[in-house]
């Protein structure tokens, strides 16, 4: 491989000094038009590309951010959520000149290491996806003064932490209201685990909608967000409340299980029982019948997170948390 041209090569070719070439590259206004053209010509002729490492050494800035994820093991592999976050983030970065570095921090031991890593100036900021409640990472980063944006609301409020959440309460409310609007009166819900903010918030959104119309939100069963648990919960619900005519299921995977349970019980969807799910995963489009569900703006979330991080890196003060609205996707199950 021919040795790559450096700033000096370009400077020699253009007949100017290294500093001037640097000015042209960085768009400094203090360069005469003729010189600018000469330098640009030389750059093009030599196929020069700045060396990122050298630049970052000199600037104390890396122009790259880390996307940290936890436990991306087989369980999560099937979940398109992370993949979408990753891809959306990388899309947002197009044209900004900022690199996306993927970091896997699975166990706690890796966390201190990760904090070191980040602190050592490898990246200018950190995006935290798929957080856990007990995660020490946000605090570590916050204390280290590293620009950080978290996806999802932390269970305990952390002043100074910027995060982008999705409106789980509002989404669940939307779902319940949809059921009420179609004259369903004996509504039940399959709630998610109550140790996750998503599970908690969706249940309270559901309760809110019912109580707004003066209804009690009894008829609740719980699942753990897996299809199997949804199926079981639905079966239990049918046993306890045979007359129910609608269910709000706190995620699509459980809704798919519920659909199966309903079919097994001979109930027609939506004629006998209306079903609304949550997440709008790809599969929701292909169920029988296609699932009416709440769309999560994952792509927007990733985009917003990235934008917040970039402005924070740019020196702006830490932005207030952002909560993104959800949207009802009407298909055929309700």
């Amino acid at each position: 491989m021919i040795s790559k041209p450096t700033l000096d090569t370009v400077a020699a070719e253009a007949g100017v000094s290294r500093a001037t070439v640097s000015r042209v590259i960085n768009g400094s206004p203090r360069v005469s038009p003729e010189v600018k053209v000469a330098v640009e010509t030389a750059i093009a002729a030599l196929g020069y590309v700045p060396n990122r490492a050298a630049r970052s050494l000199a600037m104390r800035r890396t122009d790259s951010i880390a996307l940290v994820m936890r436990e991306p093991d087989a369980t999560v592999l099937n979940d398109p959520y992370l993949g979408n976050i990753i891809i959306a983030t990388s899309q947002t970065l197009i044209g900004t000149g900022v690199q996306l570095v993927l970091v896997n921090a699975q166990n706690t031991a890796e966390h201190a290491q990760l904090a070191d890593y980040v602190r050592s100036g490898h990246v200018d900021g950190v995006l935290l996806a798929s957080m856990h409640d007990d995660d020490p990472l946000p605090r570590l980063l916050l204390e280290a003064g590293i620009p950080t944006v978290v996806g999802g609301r932390p269970s305990r409020p952390m002043p100074g932490l910027s995060y982008v959440d999705v409106d789980n309460v509002g989404g669940a409310q939307l779902a319940a209201e949809r059921l009420l609007a179609s004259d369903r009166r004996r509504i039940a819900t399959i709630a998610g685990p109550q140790d996750m903010t998503a599970g908690i918030d969706r249940l309270s959104g559901y309760r809110l909608a019912l109580s707004n119309t003066g209804r009690k939100a009894d008829r609740v069963a719980y699942g753990d967000f897996t299809r199997e648990s949804g199926q079981q919960a639905m079966t239990a619900l049918l046993a306890r409340h045979p007359d129910l005519d609608a269910v709000f299921v706190a995620n699509d995977l459980m809704a798919i299980g519920a659909l199966r349970s309903l079919r097994d019980a001979g109930r027609r969807v939506p004629d006998d029982v209306a079903v609304v799910g949550y997440d709008d995963i790809d599969m929701a489009r292909h169920t029988e019948p296609p699932l009416t569900t709440i769309h999560q703006p994952i792509v927007d979330q990733a985009r917003t997170m990235t934008e917040l991080l970039l402005t924070q890196i740019g020196g702006d003060p830490v932005a207030d948390p952002v909560v993104l609205p959800t949207v009802l996707v009407e298909r055929e199950s309700a």
Copy 2:
């Protein structure tokens, strides 16, 4: 933020020279045990972490590789394939000290740019996921002498290009044999687009299996890998060959469409018509009935690609292409 410790800080603390600290960090054997301990103590005390940019400047090596993807737009977002590749790659990299940099090269204009980017020494090697046939990128990288590994077989053979493919021919054969083994005799197939290696190879694997038992592989319909096209193809097949008792569908999405078409036509699966899909996407587990399909070793593929790339970066000669075996996942549709 307190200014970060550098090599000099550590050297002063340990009472040795910068060079010695560097030796300790890089595990050089030419360091006395006492000094080594002293240095390590100093490092720990100061919380020193080497600056990656400086190191990479001096070493002309970045310890990071790029994962390049094409067109990760909305279409692909729903496809867990890319996400799985990304995550599996990042998992393989854990503990190697190598960084994963995600690069989005959507249009051709970005390709030259990308080649420059890579050539400028930002990464030590490149992983190419989701290739297109007309992609000039592999050639560019190959010519630039940059270690590169491609996912999937390039349509035109490129000497010196290392790639990891999945055995589409063998997988399709497996699927057809499964159908034959369960005494299906009037077998049809819904093939994929014949301008993609996956589409071509799966059809020829299917043909191979049939001809091995002296059968003709007529009864072929074509789709474009979307669910809708699968549904249409199945309907067409049913119209042309009302007596068919089995179908091999070249991907799961089309198989889901086929399932729907069969249900609409009042055929029971697998009693009347057995169905085998291809890909083993997550959804295949949740269809009615759950889909028997061919599992793609995506995770293995990503892992193998990464390993090949790392050895190539390490100076080993370009490895021969690897073709990974597929596996039949028996569920209930066949």
